[in-house]
Amino acid sequence: MSGEALRALSETALALAAAVFVTSLLLLLLGYDPVSSLAVMFTYGLGNVEYVAAVAAPLVLSALAFLIPLRAGLFNIGGEGQAYLGALSFLYFSQQFGALGLLAGGLMGALLGGTLGALRAFLGVNEVIASIMTNWTLYYVTLFLVSRHLTHPEFPHRSIDVGFFLGSWTSFLLALALALLALVLLYNTLLGYEIRVLGSSRRAAAYAGIDVRRVTVLSMSIGGLFGGTAGALKVMYVGHLDTTMSALFGVGFLGIGVALIGKSHPIGAVLSAAFLASMIIGGHWVELRLGTPPELTDVIVGVMVLVLSAPYALKLLQRGGRLG
């Protein structure tokens, strides 16, 4: 094992210990038993592996949506909006075209990501601000379409059913395959090389004769492709969208946490997605078993994400977002 991997391993172990410690302290302060809370969370979280796989699959992809542009030094906060668009497109196109709906979801996400990238590359529009604006616009567009045009004839609170379905394991394998694809893209292709040079230093990218605009647009498009697919997988698993938007809301943002915990590495993203998915699942059982308020789970998951990703996120900030 290389030194780099060894360091990542010990860092993560340390961060996990710190996260457990901070969470326990918080639970104690709030008057809950940290040992049983965390024990319930982890045991039940891993009790149903298929469930974990199902919840993790879209998270892997929304993490990739953030991760690929990040490697080019871009902050794609738009994974959320890309997921909405991907989910809508999948819902719509899967009616007629079945599995191709997944592709449609991914492509629409890519189109959106690419547009954000082009705005940045050609007009200098900050991708973070543009992403946040499109996120909210698409939130309401989705809500509108679900309650007006794609509405279920019997149950007006929700959309029609999706026209294509994959099982939990198949979805997870799809996500895993895409993560491996992302791995190959980053480390074994010319484009991946150019993305990483750009992420390491814009000046070095210019020096190396890399077309910064092209790489900006492409990396954002690829991010969008993953973001759109993440939304498609999520809606596919639920089977429909509803007017609470709870199935989609936050899938993009959570992906940022997953990517950071996974140290911006595709395989790291798979592992951290599985980890977070099991925490979220286990959190339900903490409420059920110990009678804690459901918000407590959010707090635990939030603290875990924060502590686990903090060392890496800080390093990232110190380097001004430079990554190899």
């Binding site: 990542a8 391993l9 996990l16």
Partner: protein, 409 residues
């Protein structure tokens, strides 16, 4: 190759296994506890804290826990993706005698899971899958009935407010999503207002808006402010947590001297929130529904199928002063309100006396009796089209268009 690709943090995997082992003990500790009747209440994504629908369900379950000696656990899914797997996991384990599913968001999950676990009993509150199953009890309410009574009183209040302060006689409602229970409220509320018009000859303007949300007070506030600015005098809250924003808008409207208005609550008694400006709430006894479902299991009287609770069953109505006091007590005990229950009851009584004049009281009584005796029965729209048609007819003053049985003139 290994040195080329910085290896991923395998640490996560290793630690997961370690944690799995630690957690294993906890399962063994809890898995083989002595057997007792256990019930799980599964909320929708909003969960408790809405001061109405979900809290009411919890109230009924809590009461059952105390009075029927049942162990009740609660669960609030993070998002829609967890509904099916959680329900499936719980059904598979079979440790709960009854799973109480609160709200319409559970329809799909229940539909997918129920037939696979015939031994597991489910109670779906305030929603229906449209299918009868022996292991599923579905409880619906006749929202039209409470809506109609509230409608008459709201119209009466608006008349008094217009008399005192001028402006149009106008009532409105801030509603949540366009779903069947809300359709029924709409029909009832509009029916009540038109009934008032027909009986008193006083023209009343009517406004209705869907915010699309049950958990967004800010949206409720915006919708309410628009209506108030449009001259509405009485606003009926039909949007869960969203209409708490409506309450705030009405309270501020009065406090800032921008006009005079009242708010009406729904489901739980919400008068305690501000007794002066919320003199009345419609009741929808989600608590009763939950309690009864649990009771059926405990007493061995289980019967699946559809159960519809109306005025006559005590399932819906208008909260009396005792009910107002009861909820004011809870609010007082949980420090949500600083006003004593007695004081709340006192204010509510005087406000009701002031704004619900005798003729209106008489009208309400008359209508209530007709409903209780079954002389009139409201229509139950099967889809949005039928609902729209009924509303259109009602707006024209055709009261009987809302009735499946009987007639009024």
């Amino acid at each position: 190759m290994s040195s080329r690709l910085p290896l991923p943090p395998l640490a996560l995997g290793v630690l997961l296994v370690a944690l799995l082992l630690i957690g294993g003990f906890a399962v063994y500790r809890t898995a083989f506890a002595p057997r007792e009747v256990k019930v799980a209440v599964l909320f929708d994504v909003g969960g408790r804290g809405d001061l109405s629908f979900n809290d009411m369900a919890a109230l009924g379950a809590d009461r059952a826990a105390k009075e029927l000696n049942v162990k009740v656990d609660y669960l609030t899914p993070k998002d829609l993706a967890h509904f099916v797997p959680l329900l499936e996991d719980l059904s598979k384990r079979g440790e709960y005698e009854l799973l109480v599913l609160v709200g319409f968001l559970w329809i799909d999950a229940l539909d997918k899971v129920a037939d696979k676990y015939p031994q597991q009993k489910y109670a779906l509150i305030d929603a229906s899958t449209g299918k009868a199953r022996a292991n599923v009890l579905e409880v619906l309410f006749r929202e039209q009935e409470t809506g109609a009574l509230v409608g008459v009183s709201a119209a009466g209040m608006a008349r008094e407010l217009a008399r005192e302060a001028g402006g149009p006689i106008k009532v409105g409602s801030v509603a949540g999503m366009s779903i069947p229970p809300l359709w029924r409220f709409h029909i009832g509320y509009l029916f009540g207002v038109k009934y008032f018009e027909a009986k008193t000859g006083t023209k009343v303007e009517f406004a209705w808006v869907y915010t699309g949300k049950f958990d967004d007070p800010a949206a409720g506030r915006r919708a309410a402010e628009t209506m108030l600015a449009g001259g509405a005098k009485v606003l009926y809250g039909l949007a869960g947590l969203t209409h708490v924003g409506m309450f705030d808008a009405v309270i501020d409207w009065n406090a800032q001297g921008r006009g005079r208005a009242l708010a009406l609550g729904q489901d739980a008694s919400q008068e305690w929130y501000n007794a002066t400006y919320i003199p009345l709430s419609g009741s929808k006894r989600v608590d009763v529904a939950v309690y009864r479902a649990i009771e059926m299991v405990v007493k061995g009287e289980w019967k699946g199928g559809l159960s519809v609770l109306g005025l006559a069953d005590g399932g819906v109505g208008i909260w009396d002063i005792e009910g107002v006091k009861y909820f004011a007590q809870i609010a007082y005990d949980t420090k949500k309100s600083k006003v004593t229950p007695e004081r709340v009851a006192e204010i509510v009584s005087s406000q009701r006396a002031r704004y619900i004049k005798e003729d209106v009281q008489r009208l309400m009584k008359e209508l209530e009796d007709k409903i209780r005796r079954g002389e009139i029965v409201f229509k139950d729209p099967r889809d949005e089209k039928e609902y729209d048609a009924i509303i259109k007819e009602l707006e024209r003053g055709n009261l009987n268009a809302a009735l499946a049985k009987g007639s009024v003139s």
